[in-house]
C-alpha cells in the first residue's frame, strides 16, 4: 500500500481503479442493456429500442406487482414513521436504564439474518391466515423499517436542544402540542430521511416477500426473483434501470434532506 516512487503510485492508482470498476460496472452495464433490441442479452447491444420498457408497461402481471410493491412501501412508511419517531422521542427523553435495553431490542431487526425472520413470520402468518395479504406484508415491513426511522430520528433529537420544548410547555402548551409546534419542525430533515429509508427498505425487501407474498399480492421483488431464477427475461433489464433511477433519485433526496439538517 505505501506508494513509494512514481511507479508505485501509478500501480496503486490502477489497482484502486480496477476495484472501483468491479464495484460500479454491474450497476452501469444494466442501463444500456435495457435499450437492446434483441432477446439475446449481449453487451453492447447491436440495435437500440424501447422494446423491453414497452414489455414491462404492457404486462398486467408486472404492473400489478409494481402496484403492490409501491402501495406496501407507502403504507409501511406511513405506519413506521410515527411509530419510530415516538419511540425515538421516548428513548431520547428517558433516563431509565431499561430504555437502553429497549433500544437494543428495536435495533434487533437489523441483526437477525433475514432468512430466519422470514421463516419465523411465515410460520406465524400460516397459523393466523395473514399469508399473501397486503396487511401481513405491511406489518412485516414496518418491523424491518423501524430501526432506520429510529436511528435517523435519534440522530436529529440528539443535536436538538430539548429546553426549547420545555419553554413551550412552561408557557402552557401540552406535551403533544409543544412537540408538534417546536420540536418536530426542527428535526424534520432527520424524520424525512428516516421515512425515505423506510420506503426504500420496504420497496427493496425480497426475502420476507418471497415467503409471505403471493397470489394477487406478489411484490415486484418476488416476481423479479422468480423471473431471474427461471430464465433471463430482458424485461428485467428495463425494470432494473427504472429501479436504479429511483434509488438515485431517493439518494439525492436524502442527501439534500441531510444537508438541510446541518
Amino acid at each position: 500500500m505505501p506508494a513509494s516512487g512514481r511507479w508505485g503510485k501509478v500501480a496503486f492508482a490502477l489497482l484502486v481503479g480496477a476495484i472501483l470498476l468491479f464495484l460500479i460496472a454491474p450497476v452501469v452495464i444494466v442501463v444500456p442493456m435495457s435499450f437492446s433490441d434483441t432477446r439475446f442479452m449481449s453487451f453492447p447491444p447491436e440495435r437500440w429500442s424501447l422494446r423491453w420498457y414497452r414489455a414491462y408497461l404492457e404486462s398486467a402481471a408486472w404492473m400489478d406487482a409494481t402496484r403492490v410493491s409501491l402501495s406496501v412501501a407507502f403504507l409501511t412508511t406511513l405506519v413506521a414513521t410515527p411509530v419510530g419517531v415516538a419511540a425515538a422521542y421516548a428513548i431520547n427523553a428517558s433516563t431509565l436504564r431499561a430504555v437502553r435495553a429497549f433500544q437494543l431490542v428495536l435495533l434487533a431487526p437489523l441483526m437477525v439474518p433475514i432468512i430466519i425472520v422470514a421463516a419465523g413470520i411465515f410460520f406465524v402468518y400460516a397459523k393466523i391466515g395473514l399469508i399473501t395479504t397486503i396487511a401481513g406484508l405491511v406489518l412485516a415491513h414496518v418491523m424491518l423499517a423501524l430501526p432506520y426511522v429510529l436511528v435517523a430520528t435519534l440522530a436529529g433529537l440528539r443535536s436538538f436542544d430539548m429546553t426549547q420544548e420545555m419553554v413551550a410547555r412552561s408557557l402552557g402548551m401540552n406535551r403533544m402540542r409543544s412537540f408538534l409546534a417546536v420540536t418536530l419542525p426542527q428535526i424534520r430533515p432527520s424524520v424525512v430521511t428516516g421515512a425515505l429509508f423506510a420506503f426504500i427498505a420496504s420497496l427493496d425487501e425480497t426475502v420476507v416477500a418471497l415467503f409471505i407474498s403471493g397470489g394477487d399480492n406478489q411484490t415486484l421483488t418476488k416476481r423479479m426473483f422468480t423471473a431471474l431464477r427461471d430464465e433471463i427475461d430482458p424485461t428485467i433489464a428495463a425494470i432494473s434501470s427504472l429501479l436504479i433511477a429511483t434509488s438515485f433519485l431517493l439518494v439525492l433526496l436524502t442527501g439534500s434532506a441531510g444537508r438541510r439538517a446541518r
Partner: protein, 270 residues
C-alpha cells in the same frame, strides 16, 4: 413516556420475538420434546456439509473483501477531499442498488457467452469459456460485490482519523514507507478491519438472494437449506433448528467481537 415506546415494542415483539420463539419451540417439539432436529445437523451429511460450505464461502468472501476493500478505503482516506468523494460515491452507489438488479447484471456478465468470457478469449488468456456462474465462483463474486461496502465504510471511518503527523513522524525518524505502513498504519486501522470483517462474515453466513441466483441451485448455503425445508419439503422442525443454529452462531460472533472491541467505538465515533 413508556407509552410512546409501546407501539414500536409491540411491532418488534409480535413480528420478531414471537416468530423467533415459535421457531425455537418448533425446533424442539414435535409430538413431544425431541432433540432430533439438532442431531440431524450433526448426523446427516447434507446438513453438515451445508454448514461447512457456508463457513468456507463466508471466510473466502471476508478475505477477498478485506483485500479489495483495504486499498479503496486507504485511497479514500488519503486522497484530497474532492477525489475521496468520488471514490466513496463509487462505493455507495452499488450499495444503494437492489441486490436483485446486481444479481441480474452478474448473471449477464459472467455467463458462458458473457462479456467477461468474451474479453478473456479475445485476449487469448483462455481458449474455452470459463464456468463463472451457477457455481461457488458465481456465489463468491456476487457476494463480495454486495458486501464490499460493508468492509470499506468502517475501514474508511477508522483510517480517516489516523493522524498524518504520526506517519510523518515515523518517516522522519528514518522508517521506510513499507515499515511505516506495517508498524504504524496497519495496527491503527485494525479496529476498522475487524469491524468490517465481522460485518461481512456475519452477513454472508445468512445470505440468501445472491447465492440462490448465482449459485445455480448446486451451491447450497444454510439460508437455502432453511428455504427448501420450509417451502419444498415442509419439514418445519428441521428448518427451525437450522435457522436457530445460524442465529446462535451469528449472535456468538457479535458477542465475542464486542468483547474484544466495543463496536460502538467504531460505529459511534464519527
Amino acid at each position: 413516556m413508556l407509552l410512546l415506546l409501546a407501539p414500536a415494542l409491540a411491532v418488534v415483539g409480535l413480528l420478531l420475538v414471537l416468530p423467533l420463539g415459535w421457531l425455537a419451540w418448533q425446533s424442539i417439539y414435535q409430538d413431544g420434546f425431541t432433540p432430533e432436529h439438532y442431531l440431524r445437523i450433526l448426523q446427516e451429511d447434507i446438513y453438515w456439509n451445508t454448514f461447512r460450505l457456508t463457513f468456507s464461502i463466508s471466510a473466502s468472501v471476508t478475505v477477498l473483501a478485506a483485500l479489495l476493500g483495504f486499498p479503496v478505503a486507504y485511497a479514500a482516506a488519503r486522497l484530497p477531499p474532492r477525489w475521496a468523494t468520488v471514490v466513496l460515491a463509487l462505493v455507495v452507489i452499488p450499495f444503494w442498488t437492489s441486490v436483485l438488479v446486481r444479481a441480474y447484471a452478474w448473471l449477464v456478465l459472467l455467463q458462458r457467452r458473457g462479456v467477461i468470457n468474451q474479453v478473456l478469449m479475445d485476449l487469448g488468456i483462455v481458449d474455452e469459456p470459463l464456468a463463472l456462474v451457477h457455481n461457488a465462483t458465481g456465489t463468491i463474486i456476487g457476494t463480495v460485490h454486495v458486501l464490499l461496502p460493508f468492509m470499506v465504510l468502517p475501514l474508511y471511518a477508522v483510517m480517516r482519523k489516523i493522524p498524518g503527523d504520526l506517519l510523518n513522524a515515523a518517516a522522519s525518524l528514518g522508517a521506510r514507507p513499507g515499515y511505516v505502513f506495517a508498524r504504524v498504519f496497519l495496527p491503527l486501522s485494525a479496529p476498522g478491519l475487524l469491524a468490517g470483517a465481522m460485518l461481512v462474515f456475519v452477513l454472508c453466513l445468512g445470505f440468501y438472494i445472491t447465492p440462490e441466483l448465482l449459485g445455480g441451485g448446486r451451491t447450497i448455503m444454510v439460508s437455502m437449506l432453511v428455504q427448501r425445508n420450509v417451502e419444498l419439503y415442509h419439514r418445519w422442525g428441521a428448518a427451525s433448528a437450522v435457522g436457530l443454529t445460524l442465529l446462535f452462531v451469528v449472535f456468538a460472533i457479535f458477542w465475542i467481537v464486542d468483547r474484544v472491541l466495543p463496536l460502538e467505538r467504531v460505529y459511534g465515533a464519527r
